[in-house]
């Protein structure tokens, strides 16, 4: 299938999928993508490699518009802590390039969605891992974006410098917007050096309540804890310290001294452990998966309140992030929503069958005033409603 761009000259590669009469449109560059958008007459699913298609609501559209054809790191300045890459660049490629210079993604995005995920997708979904509690979320590190809005205009927000308050921060608005406002074509983000050493304090506890007390003590210490998770299966709390080897040894010793029977894991074991936490390997396989964010002290209540529905999980972010899996039933989903509400927090349905995702609140509904503003904001970016309709909200 051939799709002509706005100029009517360049050819965009496209695959035809039986379920999608419009096929998968894969522009080779930003100008082509803008042409496709200008010429579009029907809604499109905006994706990189589609690894998060099972997250939130199922999209409804005749075609997929993929940024997978726009790949490559376009700027990397290690001494300025900045990297820029086209949206379709694989996260794995970015992480390898950074590792070659002893640097890393600050938010350590999860590989839960597989190795094919693109940097555009990571930013569009604002995916952050365990280091979010100390280093900030993906949205905190996106310095600039290039994107194509629903009118096919190419827009450039933010920049490549670490501080920037020039004009409204549409970079943050687009980060985490799941391709519903504009198609992200290029991302510039801050990176940091990989620490020389990693250490982990392991503390065995009676229950989740006790676990959060340990994590709060660790995060409320002067020792720069950069990860705090609890796995109910092993009843173990893990506190991570990352720095130069001497500092890690000192801080692990000081932290371990606070908790009876605490053990210390060295760099090798620690790295493997935190990768498994980042990628939710401790989560039992379930038909559905949720993520709940609450204040840390409310995390244990969430675990307790969903247990009756067969939903289990673990705590990250000091107790504030609850990863859950369980049956893809309305009962289980409602239990998760209720537990998140009781904890004063929010939920996301991260994975599940279309039948469930299409009919439930995949995130908490907004208050009416905010929903009204949101609909107007969408209309200002995508007046024809062609980007990922229904992905985040049913209305």
């Amino acid at each position: 299938m051939v799709v002509e761009s706005g100029e009517g000259v360049s050819v965009v590669s496209a695959r035809v999928d039986a379920a999608l009469p419009g096929g998968v449109i894969v522009p080779r560059d930003e100008a082509e993508l803008a042409g496709v958008v200008r010429d579009a007459s029907a809604p499109m699913l905006v994706q990189g490699n589609g690894t998060k298609a099972g997250m939130l609501r199922p999209g409804r559209a005749a075609a997929v518009l993929s940024t997978a054809g726009m790949s490559g790191i376009t700027l990397y300045s290690p001494s300025e802590l900045v990297m820029r890459a086209r949206a379709g660049t694989a996260l794995a490629e970015i992480e390898a390039a950074l590792a070659a210079h002893g640097q890393q993604m600050i938010a350590e995005p999860s590989h839960l969605f597989g190795e094919a995920q693109t940097i555009g997708g990571v930013v569009a979904a604002n995916v952050s891992g365990p280091r979010r509690i100390s280093g900030g979320a993906m949205r905190d590190h996106v310095l600039g974006l290039r994107a194509v809005n629903g009118s096919g205009e190419i827009l450039n927000f933010g920049g490549r410098v670490l501080k920037n308050v020039t004009g409204l921060d549409l970079t943050k608005l687009l980060t985490g917007s799941f391709g519903t406002l504009a198609v992200i074509t290029e991302v510039t983000f801050k990176v940091l050096p990989v620490a020389g050493a990693v250490g982990t304090i392991v503390v065995r506890v009676a229950d989740a309540q006790a676990a959060v007390a340990v994590m709060s003590a660790g995060l409320g210490s002067p020792f720069s804890v950069s990860g705090a998770a609890y796995l109910p299966g092993s009843r173990e709390v893990y506190l991570r310290v990352e720095d130069f080897a001497e500092s890690v040894a000192y801080r692990c010793g000081r932290l371990a001294g606070q908790f009876a029977g605490a053990e210390i894991l060295g760099s090798g074991e620690s790295k493997a452990l935190w990768l498994s936490i980042r990628d939710c390997e401790a989560l039992p396989p379930g038909e559905a998966m949720w993520r709940v964010s609450v204040r840390p002290s409310a995390g244990p209540g969430v675990l307790r309140d969903v247990a009756f529905a067969g939903v289990t999980g673990f705590l990250d972010w000091g107790g504030g992030l609850v990863w859950l899996s369980g049956p893809a039933t309305h009962e289980a989903h409602e239990a998760v929503c209720a537990a998140a509400r009781t904890g004063g927090g929010v939920w996301w349905l991260m994975r599940g069958p279309e039948a469930l995702r299409a009919v439930v609140e995949v995130m908490p509904p907004e208050a009416p005033a905010l929903a009204a503003l949101r609909r107007q904001v969408v209309a200002k970016f995508d007046p024809r409603g062609i980007f990922n309709p229904l992905k985040m909200w049913a209305a």
């Binding site: 001494s79 308050v165 409204l168 995060l219």
Partner: protein, 473 residues
Amino acid sequence: MRAMKQLDPKPEVMARRSEIIAGLRRILPERAVIAQAVELKPYETDALTAYRQVPLAVVLPEDEAQVVDVLKFCAAGGVRVIPRGAGTSLCGGALPLADSVVVGLMRMNRILEINYADRYAVVQPGVTNIGITQAVADAGYFYAPDPSSQLACMIGGNVGMNSGGAHCLKYGVTANNLLGLRLVTVAGEVLEIGGAHCDAAGYDWLGLITGSEGQLGILTEVTVRILHAPEGARAMLAGFASNEVAGECVAAIIASGIIPVALEFMDKPAIHACEAFAHAGYPLDAQALLIIEVEGSQDEQADMLGRLREICERFAPVSMRVAQTEAESAAIWKGRKGAFGAVGRISPDYLCMDGVIPTSRLGEVLRRIEEMSAAYDLRVANIFHAGDGNLHPLIMYDANDPASFAKAERFGAEILTLCVEAGGCLTGEHGVGVEKRELMRVQFSESELTQMRAMKDVFDPQWLLNPAKVFPL
């Protein structure tokens, strides 16, 4: 008042002045409405004192319900509204319009909740930046962003401008340290954004509102993250023979994998001004000075400072000194944090710029600024958050000479244009305000500005909230 293109006052609003003031008095306590000329005077400007305009009235609401009432009243009458915290904006962010009602938030200055177990505090917008840290310091905690004006500036203004500070290389700016907000829209709707947890669901309204310069609504509550302080901190000074060499040293430090908690740069004029003011032992023979601060236990500090000394030595420093005591560190910071006041002693009037450049362009950009300084015949001192490329050239001029001020403004605009051309931006932490409004076209295309204006249209269709700021007129 300086000549500056400004929105014309709405004649119908000016004509109804006494009626509007009477209306405000009906919905607010007597003490919350200021309308007499002599009492309005303090509100005519902010820290960009070159511009002044007495507003129609000032109101000082004491709670959220009063903010709602004021906004509903003003929106119904088409009256423009200027939100104001402590009035410390360096870009004219709180400059009134003749037909505007200034909504001062200084009486909403209560700390509503401090939660150490979950590490957050809920405060009203009129709490000062330092006030948050002071409230949690006994428990060993602090609020991280630390603008130079932190003794006076208020958290509401910090959120409005997305303020930074000397320590944001490690801890981030305001946007990175917020969890939630309550915001009253011009229609009088109260929006609850985020909460006490990380990562709100849906769009990042927190990110959009932070740094929106009071154009999307008026804040009534802010939930900030509080952090436990490190065991200690210590600073060192390293003086270098040229700006370029100091810039190379900064790059070498970052490339080594060390991220100091602060990495500040001063050029020679700034060194001399600050030393005369603070007597911090700054090297007067150096062309450029780095202030580097590290955190941790005594041993960790010593280890890190040792690594930093080794790196600095590779760049043939003309002097190097590690603070031996807390008092010495404090003196080093007194000089840096008092830099604006210090420059004020050698020139009563100056403009403080706030451009950002990629740090690799430092030497070249400072050289160009020096050339401009000679061409404009105006002195300039450069203070720079070197780790993140945030440059603060202080342009000295004579306010009694209109030609001198006009020249200083042109010089400033040329510096900021240079920052954008070097791959940076117009403002890193002060905001656009009125000062850089007309330069926005240097950084953004018309369609990019249109997309931003469209967000303003959604939140404030009549453009009543802090209009004539941020966007070119």
